[in-house]
């Protein structure tokens, strides 16, 4: 599909990607606050939802719309460094630019680690993750430690992400936040040879349902019932 010739905006982000992005924001906040305040049941639910969303995003990164696909925004290190050095000038990208792609990859991996270790974590007394009983107490405690450390890492990454997006907005004048909400960019900000293909949202829904099922199955391995 060629970019919309009308002067109104061009669709770049599909609904599933946008929903995913902002849900993650919300769920990270919920997970943080619930853990801090001791509402561990809430923490469990938000953590499992995060797991489902991350699994979905990985699937969508293979099967989804063009801008959602990993192939679109994951670039080899040389390319990323070159981009960061400014070799691309003031070029806009339809989806994530190479640096953004790196951030996406980092965040997904780190969040997966967090959710993964969280499944096995324990708080020493009353609460433990769904799979904590499947491993030795020593292992569970070690993974809990990693869970705590990765939390700090997530905060650092989020700060980097905000700083980066802020840089684009305030220094380079590229507003990346609006498009992540509306899904649309100005036509002049979308390369003409983009050839964006959009996959129907109901397929995303299906994939999310499967991911949710996998998340529930994972939880059930520890003998938990929701």
């Amino acid at each position: 599909m060629s970019p919309d010739p009308s002067p109104t905006h061009v669709r770049v982000w599909d609904l599933p990607v946008r929903l995913f992005h902002w849900s993650i924001v919300l769920l990270i906040a919920v997970s943080w606050i619930s853990a801090d305040r001791g509402y561990m049941q809430v923490h469990l639910v938000s953590g499992l939802t995060l797991l489902a969303l991350l699994l979905f995003r990985i699937a969508w990164g293979v099967l989804g719309s063009t801008t959602a696909r990993f192939r679109d925004f994951l670039h080899p290190p040389g390319r990323i460094i070159g981009y960061l050095k400014g070799r691309d000038g003031d070029k806009w990208y339809a989806g994530h630019n190479p640096a953004g792609g790196l951030m996406v990859a980092a965040l997904i991996l780190v969040l997966l680690t967090q959710v993964g270790t969280g499944l096995f974590a324990n708080d020493g007394v009353r609460f433990h993750g769904p799979l904590a009983l499947l491993v030795s107490e020593d292992t569970s405690t070690r993974l809990t430690g990693i869970h705590g450390f990765v939390f700090d890492l997530i905060l650092v990454l989020i700060w980097c992400h905000i700083v980066a997006v802020g840089f684009y907005l305030l220094v380079k004048g590229h507003n990346l936040i609006g498009p992540m909400v509306t899904g649309k960019k100005r036509p002049e900000h979308v390369p003409p040879d983009s050839n964006l293909i959009f996959v129907r949202s109901y397929i995303a829904l299906l994939l999310f349902a499967v991911s949710a099922g996998i998340a529930v199955w994972v939880m059930a391995q520890g003998g938990y019932a929701l």
Binding site: R126, G148, L170, V171
Partner: protein, 310 residues
């Protein structure tokens, strides 16, 4: 390009914002604040001396009951109790001890709660602190939570726990080897008389009390090759006589000796005054000289039996 910042202005602002964020975190979470200040060297890190009351009495309690949740592996409520500095830093809600005021210290209030209270520390499921432990902590906080003071008046005495001796099979084997063949020989020829003191010992015990008159001087002195390793001899009711006095007195490791009902007389007891190792002597109905007993007692040998024991 109106509305746009220069890159340097932006990153300066980011840097300032980041510092402001840290400052806010340090203010809102005092424990974090103190660790940051101490890490930056702006605050001295409180230390406790190795022989202080804190190090010898208070810190072990935290180690046993608390640091599994408040230490390196986990920091519940942001509190660490695995060092004096961490203890003073407190939790994410603030200081947990107020030096000089036990009753107002959060840590003391929590450990003083009845076990049924949901906020009691340690939480149910963990080994609780004994009342003496709570008293130790209370007195320590009340008297200033010092990292230097060695004694706190009024603190209950520590109770030493029993240490079960470890097996040392190689060492035991090594100690037994020189006389092992002799020991086996005696055990074969006179079963039930000679035994090692324990599985982890090379010391020997002789018990002939069930042999009666069949055990006499000859049988006793047949143990000569082993005499250096014998710690206990029971020849009650045997036919051992004073002829064995030098043998018995010359045993370098003999600690416990039972002679009641044998044919030994006061003469052997006099000879036993030479023993450097003897600490317990049962004489049964042997007729003794009072001064013999007195001089044996002076050497801190416990004497059992005496006049009136049939």
């Amino acid at each position: 390009m109106s509305g746009r910042l220069s890159a340097s202005a932006y990153f300066c602002s980011v840097a300032l914002l980041t510092l402001a964020g840290f400052a806010l975190a340090m203010f809102v979470r005092p424990a974090f604040g103190h660790s940051m200040l101490q890490w930056m060297g702006l605050e001295s890190v409180p230390q406790a001396e190795a022989r202080s009351f804190y190090a010898t009495r208070v810190s072990p309690l935290f180690e046993t009951h608390c640091i599994s949740c408040h230490g390196e592996k986990r920091q519940k409520a942001g509190l660490r109790l695995d060092s004096y500095a961490a203890l003073l830093r407190g939790s994410k809600h603030g200081a947990v001890i107020r030096p000089g005021e036990a009753r107002n210290s959060e840590l003391f209030m929590r450990i003083d709660l009845p076990a049924s209270d949901a906020r009691a520390m340690p939480p149910s499921g963990k080994t609780p602190l004994t009342p003496d432990d709570v008293t130790v902590i209370r007195l320590w906080i009340a008297q200033g939570a010092s990292g230097v003071r060695r004694t706190i008046p009024g603190a209950p005495q520590p109770v030493p726990e029993v240490k079960i001796p470890e097996d040392a099979p190689a060492l035991t084997e090594k100690l037994r080897t020189p006389l092992a063949a002799q020991v086996r020989k005696v055990q074969r020829e006179h079963p039930g008389i000679l035994a090692y003191q324990s599985r982890n010992s090379a010391w020997l015990e002789v018990n002939a009390s069930l042999r009666g008159a069949a055990f006499g001087d000859a049988q006793l002195q047949a143990l000569a090759p082993l005499r250096a390793r014998i710690v206990q001899v029971d020849i009650s009711g045997s036919s051992v006589t004073d002829a064995s006095a030098p043998f018995l007195a010359g045993m370098p490791s003999l600690q416990v000796l039972r002679l009641g009902g044998s044919r030994i007389t006061n003469a052997t007891l006099v000879a036993l005054e030479q023993s450097k190792s003897l600490r317990s002597l049962t004489i049964g109905d042997i007729q003794t000289g009072e001064d013999t007993l007195a001089s044996l007692r002076k050497k801190h040998i416990a004497i059992f039996g005496g006049a009136g024991v049939p």
